[in-house]
């Protein structure tokens, strides 16, 4: 199997992020704290507890070059933590939100970070050298409901967001003074901050987990209706595909190569999707098993009981118990976060980690699976 390490840190994990050298992990054990663990000789040792937020910490990101941790919480605040003399020191970032912050991500150049919130806004925060503090600029327009997930394009300017209004949008977050120095020929010529580049109406239900492919050419996001959406050539004439799949909805996705995506969600088992040579995306397999057969053994014993009651006399006792035990349960409950463990910007992701409501973090290594996954990887 592809799992390298599994460890249960707490009852439930909301989100997690890795240090630049991947030796330490910062996670939120479903409360208002952030715990940092270091792995040493097969043991996980808790090094720090960051206590500043009043409510659950909904998003954590750890920048790999500047070694700063940004945390956002339902208490509408965000802190940027810097390591000073062995201790993590927080700096408050005033987001100007009147609802919970739901997700956060550092930009590729780590000079900005984006926060999605329940106030139907996205905050783009950047550091103002003169005043020595973080300033937040809000994208107020367009979203009709909570912003569930944000993702930065490799060019450090475009930001994709998904929302519970079912739509995925791409905005420009060009900020004069922060981005001008980096303006290369390829970047979108001086688009205004907050300008919506594209809006994708593919989903009829809540949208989650948006990510860009390593080159920034393709976008993937999931809908709560057990669908995953792929958009190639994001721009004025995008090629969108909706892929419906058999099982429970996904919550998050990760591009492991230009043409392969891993999705995680309520099935507690990562799913692999790939694009064939003509560019058509489809579900390939669950990561832990061979191409699964339909029906029967797919349902856990809980489902079989429920189905038994539902269908009454035509009981399904035959299919019942070999059930989920055989499904290779690494996670016992919904996986809601997947993070890459390869250097940012690398075209292929060999290792990634997942965390879920069961309080476990699992590390997956795809080194030995290259053949099984095929040439798209």
């Amino acid at each position: 199997m592809a799992v390298v390490d599994v460890h249960r840190f707490s009852e439930s994990i909301t989100c997690h992020a890795w240090s630049p050298d991947y030796s330490m992990v910062a996670l939120c054990p479903n409360n208002n704290e952030v715990h940092i663990y270091k792995s040493s000789q097969d043991q996980w040792e808790r090094l720090h507890v960051l206590q500043k937020h009043d409510q659950i910490v909904s998003g954590i990101d750890w920048s790999s070059k500047s070694n700063k941790i940004v945390t956002v919480s339902h208490d509408r605040n965000s802190y940027v933590w810097s390591l000073e003399g062995g201790e993590w020191v927080p700096t408050l970032v005033i987001l100007r939100l009147n609802r919970a912050a739901l997700c956060v991500q550092w930009s590729p150049n780590e000079n900005k970070f984006a926060v999605g919130s329940g106030a139907k806004t996205v905050c783009i925060c950047y550091y103002e050298q003169e005043n020595n503090w973080w300033v937040s600029k809000l994208i107020r327009k367009r979203h009709e409901s909570s912003v569930t997930s944000v993702a930065w394009h490799p060019n450090n300017i475009l930001l994709a967001t998904t929302s519970t209004d079912g739509k995925c949008r791409v905005f420009s977050t060009f900020i004069k003074g922060v981005d001008t120095k980096d303006s290369k020929a390829g970047s979108p010529a001086e688009t205004k901050f907050g300008e919506q580049i594209i809006q994708l109406d593919l989903s009829y239900s809540w949208a989650f987990g948006v990510k860009w492919s390593p080159s920034g050419n393709t976008l993937a996001y999931v809908g709560h209706s057990s669908m995953i959406y792929f958009v190639d050539d994001v721009g004025p004439s995008p090629l969108a595909q909706s892929v419906a799949f058999r099982d429970l909805p996904l919550r998050d996705v990760l591009f492991i190569s230009e043409k392969m995506v891993i999705g995680v969600g309520y099935d507690s088992n990562p799913m692999v999707f790939a694009a064939d040579d003509t560019g058509i995306w489809s579900f390939i397999r669950y990561i832990g098993e061979k191409k699964a057969e339909s029906s029967g053994s797919s349902y856990s014993s809980q489902f079989s009981e429920a189905f038994g009651k539902f269908y009454g006399s035509q009981s399904k006792s035959a299919t019942a118990n070999d059930a989920s035990e055989s499904r290779g349960g690494v996670h016992d409950n919904c996986i809601n976060f997947i993070v890459s463990l390869s250097k940012a910007g690398s075209p292929k992701v060999m290792r990634f980690s997942t965390s879920g409501l069961d309080g476990k973090i699992a590390i997956w290594d795809l080194e030995n699976m290259q053949e099984e996954l095929g040439h798209q990887f």
Binding site: S225, A244, F245, R246, Y311
Partner: protein, 133 residues
């Protein structure tokens, strides 16, 4: 702004289509071509309109066919995967009627369809509030 008149026209067109469909289906059923009948019934279902008449007219047609099906496995084998979601929506509509023979039949088909199409199919029925039957 599309006037109300335009919607009514489009709806009337749909009603007419459903009429023709219904006649076609009657003849298919007479010839025991149940699978064809179901395909015809599900094709062109008025998912996008809000008009109740269209929806209930199509439901009557689909209901008629569902009740005549005896060989569920064979029927599902022959049905294209793109119709699974629509069929599932109609099954739930049937289950909501509370009428005993309808519910029994719908439940039987539901069991087989879930085996085939998975929980995702049910999810799509529950979460899709724009395309309803």
């Amino acid at each position: 702004m599309a006037g109300a008149a335009e919607f009514v026209e489009a709806d009337n067109a749909i009603m007419a289509e459903i009429e023709t469909k219904s006649q076609k289906i009657e003849s298919l059923l007479k010839h025991y071509k149940h699978i064809e009948a179901l395909k015809t019934a599900l094709e062109g279902s008025p998912l996008k309109t809000n008009d109740e008449r269209c929806k209930s007219a199509n439901w009557t047609v689909v209901h008629r066919v569902i009740m005549t099906i005896k060989d569920i496995d064979g029927m599902l084998n022959a049905l294209d995967a793109e119709y699974y979601d629509t069929l599932m929506k109609y099954l739930y509509k049937g289950l909501s009627t509370g009428d005993e023979p309808t519910c029994e039949q719908c439940l039987e088909i539901h069991e087989k369809l879930t085996e085939r199409a998975g929980l995702g199919c049910i999810l799509r029925c529950l979460t899709d509030t724009t395309n309803t039957v």
